[in-house]
Assembly symmetry: C2
Homo-oligomer: 542 residues x 2
């Protein structure tokens, strides 16, 4: 066999040669602002890669982006690896000081950013005075270059192309709620295989028929790997621009007859409500893939019944490139079985391996009942962090996911908790996630988080922080609704009613912040814990 | 990333862990003789690998099979690579002397064979007296071991497992009609990637929902790669046994509710006729994939309309592992457009690259009209033959396919001829394949081959060898039907009516033999050219 290296840049050639007229479409605030093709994009990407080399970018250099979901960011997804460099997509929701930390840790040599994000980048620029800065839109300010000048003025990249499949192509930092962000560095080979997996009929099944909407933030774990998959198969790609509202997303799907949309459950709840209210036709979607947290049964039902759109769940993490499992219901399942299956995290993608282990590292059975920490390994699973940070997250080449899970005999994963979110009460474990699911299914509850607070006698006890829905709810009702649905001793000692939950930069509930606040005081009936339920924000929390 | 090696043996683990209860089903003469599971198979494969090591098989050794499509052959597909050795699936339709040639060329250390094939193996055994011989079924004769003794007595393989993805896992010889057979050696990595490609939504899309029937001979280019794909996704596998008749195949599909069936067009014609005659319900098939030669429009129409089964075409060769392109009609195509699209060889699988070149090696445009020889390269495309045979089949790492083709601007391949089957008449080229297609669409024609015969004035001229259908046909009718459908100077100088066409060991028309016969004499009205239209034989000609 030819021993061809597995390079993601071959997907650039593939899109140009096999889907030259397929589209790259840009929206801003729900309005289409640009339609282009793979043929046109290919020329831009090659000139851009040439310009990066002229700018001094050398093989292996890290090149940072701080940008929303638009065609220029997409061009960088392939131009940077084509130049032999490593694309570092910086999480634009980090605090400016955290951005400075990751840019400095990665030793980025170039930063390409949206003009609107200049304030967020200021400390990073101060920390790395030699770093070249390119503004993606608008006029460059002093010391900056303009992206379009690079593209227009660049000589097409002449090579040498990346040669080794084990060379790095991309870098993402986790937004871990514990300690400093850790870098996950992706080789060409890992992303190539992950891209193949994204096209599998048993997985996301991204194919040429698709018109994918990139709602998942492009800084977030390679946007779930969907852009590279779209390149590979020549699918149309639709970029909704900065901070799209739910109404914008619905309009884009309807107008463009989009077929694939991935999003977090929180946002999907808003999308369902919007579509029901406005009668939006989303039936062009062949897949609405939920990820980031476990969807409620009612959300899955509403997507499948009210919207008539097939729902799926994908699961993974930055450390797994990120797709690791996919939940595709069995063909013969009844609707009730379907919803339950989609609520599971699903089956392991082929090529990966998993283990469930107890606290001593011993394997626990895959019986659907026994719980253990999930370990993963495989060609697109990290076995170390960038620069060797936090080595305790890996054991014998296996990634410790930090997730507590069960695996049923049929091979379906169910994540039941984060290791650090388990609540130890009187020597027994309470699953904060299971308790949250039960609470979410109670009348009057729109959103909920359960955290542990220290307790003198029981060691820890659960406290529920509840966001009421339009009908409203109170502590008594919340506790009454749990009766008989969870063990009596699981029932929270306190229920706090709040307007919104605090969230991290990628949209997960910030439990560290919640625990801190709860230790200090009751939160009061209408206290805002720093969360922001503006749906403009949720969209790129995914 | 973990840098996990890409080993096909990981699919064995995957099937056991993720689909333990899915089935391996054996049929003989249309009767089910065995039902087993991946769990049971896994234990057998591991003991078998252990037994092979005990037998003296060392990493890198070649282990030959001479066997039909049954579970023991399937077990060897993974047991041999698990032991670190190379599975050499010998074409059981070769002449005994050719079998001796390939076994000797490969230096096989063990031969595992069906008892019925002992006569075919006799010269090979004489040529390699040190080779261990294992009989797969029935009682061992003197000097032979019994397969079941190995499986029952073997200690489960303890390792070390194969370590390097660039190690060889399998070996097939082409049955080339020119010169001696050439070996194509497959690395673990090549087969791993090919298996991923077989699961792509845009390709064969083999998935967990599938129940695949292995009608394609298991000696033939890894049975198109379908068995490994089934392992990877945990699909059910149905083995129809030695020489199944068309009636058996139809009954198996109907009884087992099979979903995927691959076969050559010649056999598909018989299957359609059988199903129509008997009202067989084949609608459980989600895909009937045609390969080996271009199907007629009528065959495609009959599969889709009369059987109500979606038809596809896959194209490739032993040198491409073997899948290189897949023809999946566009979703919005009309029936007529669908049939035309399925008659094309289709789109290149992602990961591969192609070129069309003229006689000087210069690229010709992909305009759907310009013809050139197709060159291929990629992670599962050979860049050399085993032991360096016939180096002229490769140029700068590209495989010269020997096929003349066009590629349209949308990236659809159409193979129009073999380089060696073009007919040069008066300085211009006549496509024997295009002429055959036109003849096949003429009334009264069941099968046809066009070959060149030397001509004093024009250099070469076409001769058509026609097999009439039940309605019958004569020379005048054949020529009249061509009128206006091909250039006048393409019309064959002679039309020979025969009962059947001679075929090679893999079911292709043996044009070398036809040319020889035609040079010697007219064939006469009812001369049999050595072909055998018994459908029991066709089944494993695929």
């Amino acid at each position: 066999m030819s021993g061809e290296a597995l390079l993601i840049t071959t997907f650039l050639d593939h899109a140009r040669d096999h889907a030259p007229d397929r589209e790259i479409i840009d929206y801003v605030d729900g309005v289409c602002v640009r339609r282009s093709t793979y043929r046109e994009q290919d020329a831009r990407v090659r000139r851009l890669a040439g310009a990066l080399v002229t700018l001094g970018v050398r093989p292996g250099d890290r090149v940072a982006t701080l940008a929303g979901n638009h065609h220029r960011h997409l061009e960088l997804y392939l131009a940077v690896p084509l130049a032999g460099a490593v694309l570092h997509t910086v999480n634009l929701r980090l605090e400016p000081e955290e951005i400075a930390y990751v840019v400095d840790h990665a030793e980025d040599t170039v930063l390409l950013l949206d003009a609107a994000l200049r304030p967020a980048a200021a400390p990073a620029r101060a920390a790395r005075p030699g770093m070249r800065v390119v503004v993606l839109d608008g006029e460059p300010e002093s010391g900056e270059l303009a992206f379009e000048d690079l593209v227009v003025g660049g000589d097409p990249f002449e090579g040498p192309p990346p040669r080794d499949e084990d060379d790095l192509a991309a870098l993402c930092y986790t937004s871990g709620t514990t300690g400093a962000p850790k870098g996950v560095a992706y080789t060409h080979k890992a992303l190539y295989l992950h891209t193949m997996a994204a096209g599998l009929a048993d997985g996301h099944a991204i194919g040429r028929r698709d018109r994918v909407v990139h709602l998942v933030a492009m800084f977030h774990a390679n946007a779930w790997g969907v852009p590279l998959a779209a390149f590979m198969v020549g699918a149309d790609q639709i970029l909704p621009g900065p901070q799209p509202r739910v109404a914008d997303v619905a309009a884009i799907v309807e107008r463009e007859r989009a077929t694939y949309l991935g999003m977090v459950p929180t946002l999907a709840v808003d999308l369902v409500a919007h579509a029901r209210r406005n009668g939006t036709d989303l039936t062009s979607l062949r897949a609405l893939v939920l990820g980031g947290s476990t969807p409620s049964r009612e959300l899955v039902r509403a997507i499948e019944e009210d919207l008539a759109v097939p729902a799926f769940q994908g699961w993974g993490m930055t450390e797994t490139s990120p797709m690791a499992t996919f939940s595709r219901p069995e063909p013969e399942a009844t609707p009730d079985e379907r919803y339950a299956q989609i609520q599971r995290q699903g089956r392991l993608l082929p090529g990966l391996r998993w283990r469930l282990v107890d606290e001593d590292g011993a394997d626990v059975p895959h019986d659907g009942i026994s719980r253990g920490e999930l370990l993963l390994r495989g060609p697109w699973v990290a076995s170390a962090y960038f620069r060797g940070d936090r080595p305790e997250a890996f054991v014998d080449g296996w990634l410790r996911t930090g997730d507590v899970a069960t695996i049923d005999p049929e091979g379906r994963l169910r994540v039941v908790d984060r290791v650090k979110d388990l609540i130890k009460s009187g020597g027994e474990w309470i699953s904060s996630l299971a308790l949250e699911q039960a609470l979410l299914e109670s009348p009057g509850v729109a959103d909920v988080a359960v955290v542990a607070v220290p307790h003198e006698r029981w060691q820890e006890r659960p406290v529920a922080v509840v966001v009421p829905d339009a009908d409203g709810v109170d502590t008594t009702k919340v506790l009454a609704a749990l009766d008989g649905r969870v063990p009596r001793w699981w029932c929270p000692d306190r229920v706090e009613i709040v307007d919104a939950l605090p969230r991290t930069s990628v949209g997960k509930v910030d439990k560290r912040r919640l625990r801190g606040a709860l230790r200090e005081a009751h939160l009061g009936g209408s206290h805002k814990l720093g969360g922001d339920d503006d749906s403009r924000e949720h969209a790129d929390h995914s």
